[in-house]
């Protein structure tokens, strides 16, 4: 069983471009889905599933697997594209996204999609569930790690801080939270809606080990995830600075592309840009 593959950064970058292309196709086909936040977290997901996490696509419910919780459940398309790329289900299924009866729901559903470890969609829930998994791992003396990907706007939910406090209190060093810090939420800039800064200071004041990376630099992402795994007695948060809509020039840093499906023409333009990248 292969736990991790030695792969070049180039390969990972290719995977993430391919996954981004699939995101475009899915969303355009379904005329639904959250494109901006899916593109911003893509490199993180690829790093997790292709390099860092111990998973076996043939056994999505394998007990000793590392877990991943997509707390920003609206980025489902990104996770689906990566899971399909990794072989959890056939890539042709991607085009069923958001159709009635599909196993690819608008927000991720663990009962329907192989490889999805937790159902999410309403913001603020994921870190609690991830902390529960991490705690379960500790109780059962298992060595798996739990990763949770949170949106930045999501940090406005009080439940997140309940979980942050808890994970530190319980010394859950098998838990890594990653923040997709793309600076935009549904309605505008996070800093204008409800400022979450000073972000690192908040997590430090709540007892977490903190790191800050460029969320589109594959080497930095992987390095930080590895370092997180070595930290003892406290959970780690990686604040990943990202660009909403990353990879498609006309979507980058644009609030309106939070959940707007592209037209077929826009999709073609995006696919072309991604091919050239």
């Amino acid at each position: 069983m292969e736990l991790s593959r030695a792969v070049s950064m180039d390969y990972l970058r290719e995977v993430s471009i391919e996954a981004r292309r699939n995101v475009m196709k899915m969303i355009t086909h379904a005329q639904a889905g959250h494109v901006g936040g899916a593109l911003s977290c893509m490199d993180i997901l690829v790093a997790l599933y292709f390099e860092v996490m111990r998973v076996d696509p043939a056994r999505p419910r394998w007990e000793d697997r590392d877990r991943f919780v997509l707390s920003k459940g609206h980025a489902s398309v990104a996770l689906y594209a990566v899971l399909a790329e990794r072989g959890f289900f056939p890539k042709r299924d991607l085009m069923t996204f958001d159709q009635i009866g599909s196993r690819l729901q608008g927000h991720v559903d663990m009962t329907k999609t192989p490889g999805v470890d937790m159902s999410t969609g309403s913001l603020g829930h994921g870190l609690s569930a991830a902390a529960g998994m991490a705690l379960g791992g500790k109780l059962a003396s298992k060595d798996f790690r739990v990763h949770a990907l949170l949106g930045d706007g999501e940090l406005q939910e009080g439940q997140v801080w309940e979980a942050v406090m808890f994970a530190a209190g319980r010394r859950l060093d098998n838990l890594t939270a990653i923040i997709d810090y793309n600076k935009l939420q549904l309605y505008g800039a996070v800093a204008e809606m409800l400022p979450i800064e000073p972000l690192l200071m908040k997590w430090q004041a709540f007892g977490w080990h903190t790191m800050e990376v460029d969320g589109h630099d594959m080497a930095q992402i992987i390095g930080s995830l590895r370092r997180a795994a070595m930290e003892k007695d406290r959970p780690t948060v990686i604040v990943a600075h990202t660009v909403k809509g990353k990879g498609v020039s006309f979507m980058e840093r644009k609030v309106e592309w939070h959940a707007k499906p592209p037209t077929h023409k826009e999709c073609e333009r995006a696919l072309a840009e991604l091919r050239e990248a």
């Binding site: 939910e157 009080g158 801080w161 309940e162 406090m165 209190g169 409800l194 908040k202």
Partner: protein, 282 residues
């Protein structure tokens, strides 16, 4: 308002607080018990607020220009009720009705009681309500300030941090939160239940101006409250170190005395101790 003769002021506040303690113990004992621990820990804070800081009119609790106070730790209701009664919001006899149906005296605050602005009891609500009230005051360009007293265990609640974040966004320097940091929540000590430290850092990281005070030193509290806002454009929080059950030796710093009934003998001991302290203080 009382800055002329600090020593006299402090003496007055101490006395008010002592009277309130006696009234509290009497009320709780008569009503078959209650939240001794948290009522005793908050009492000096409330005594200082109501007798030296808040701009209020006991004969007109709804007076427009008043400062507002919300007891977010609603289980401290009888502590607040004792202070309100002594301040003249209602006759002391009202406190004797606590056992009766339809009484305004309950284990948690009720709006039936004169001087109570908002009912509380479930933890983690008060700060948000206070934020709304402070925003309304700003909108109306009113000078009134909003004070809200939280328990420390209460800060486990995520909604507290939602409120904290919002207060900082709206630059509510007319809002003052006070945390009754007695170190004990219901089940156990806060640092065992859910570690809160570094507590001041958390508030700072959420954009608040923080000051610590000895929650049983009326002078210290008075100085802190008189200095709000600590920073222009920021909400202020006073972290008041207190002792749960303060003033009654066998209740002090004890997890067991969060709430409960007192025997007649315990009651007599408590009263005796408090009276003695009052004399010594004099």
């Amino acid at each position: 308002m009382l800055s002329e003769a600090p020593e006299q002021v402090a003496e007055m506040l101490r006395q008010k607080s002592m009277e309130a303690r006696l009234l509290l113990i009497n009320t709780l004992h008569e009503s078959g018990g209650g939240h001794y621990g948290g009522c005793l820990s908050e009492l000096d804070i409330l005594a200082v607020l109501y007798n030296g800081i808040l701009n209020i009119r006991p004969d007109d609790p709804e007076w427009e220009g008043r400062d507002h106070f919300i007891l977010s730790k609603g289980h401290g209701a009888i502590g607040l009720a004792s202070v309100l009664a002594l301040r003249g919001f209602f006759p002391r006899e009202v406190l004797k009705t606590s056992k009766k149906l339809d009484s305004c005296v309950g284990w948690h605050t009720t709006i039936k009681m004169p001087g109570i602005e908002h009912p509380t009891g479930s933890l983690g609500h008060g700060l948000s309500v206070a934020v709304g009230l402070a925003v309304a005051k700003k909108l109306d360009k009113k000078q009134s300030r909003v004070f809200v007293l939280l328990g420390d265990g209460e800060c486990d609640e995520g909604s507290v941090w939602e409120g904290a974040m919002a207060a900082s966004k709206y630059r509510l320097d007319n809002l003052v939160a006070i945390v009754d940091r007695n170190g004990i929540s219901y089940d156990s000590r806060t640092e065992e239940v859910m570690p809160l430290e570094p507590f001041a850092d958390k508030w700072k990281a959420f954009g608040w101006a923080v000051r610590s005070a000895d929650g049983h030193s009326v002078g210290d509290l008075w100085n802190a409250f008189s200095a709000v806002p600590f920073e222009a454009g920021k909400p202020s929080v006073v972290i008041a170190s207190t002792i749960k059950g303060k003033g009654v030796s066998f209740m002090e710093n004890s997890v067991a005395w969060h709430a409960g009934p007192t025997t007649d003998e315990q009651y007599r001991t408590a009263i005796k101790e408090l009276q003695k302290r009052a004399e010594v203080a004099r």
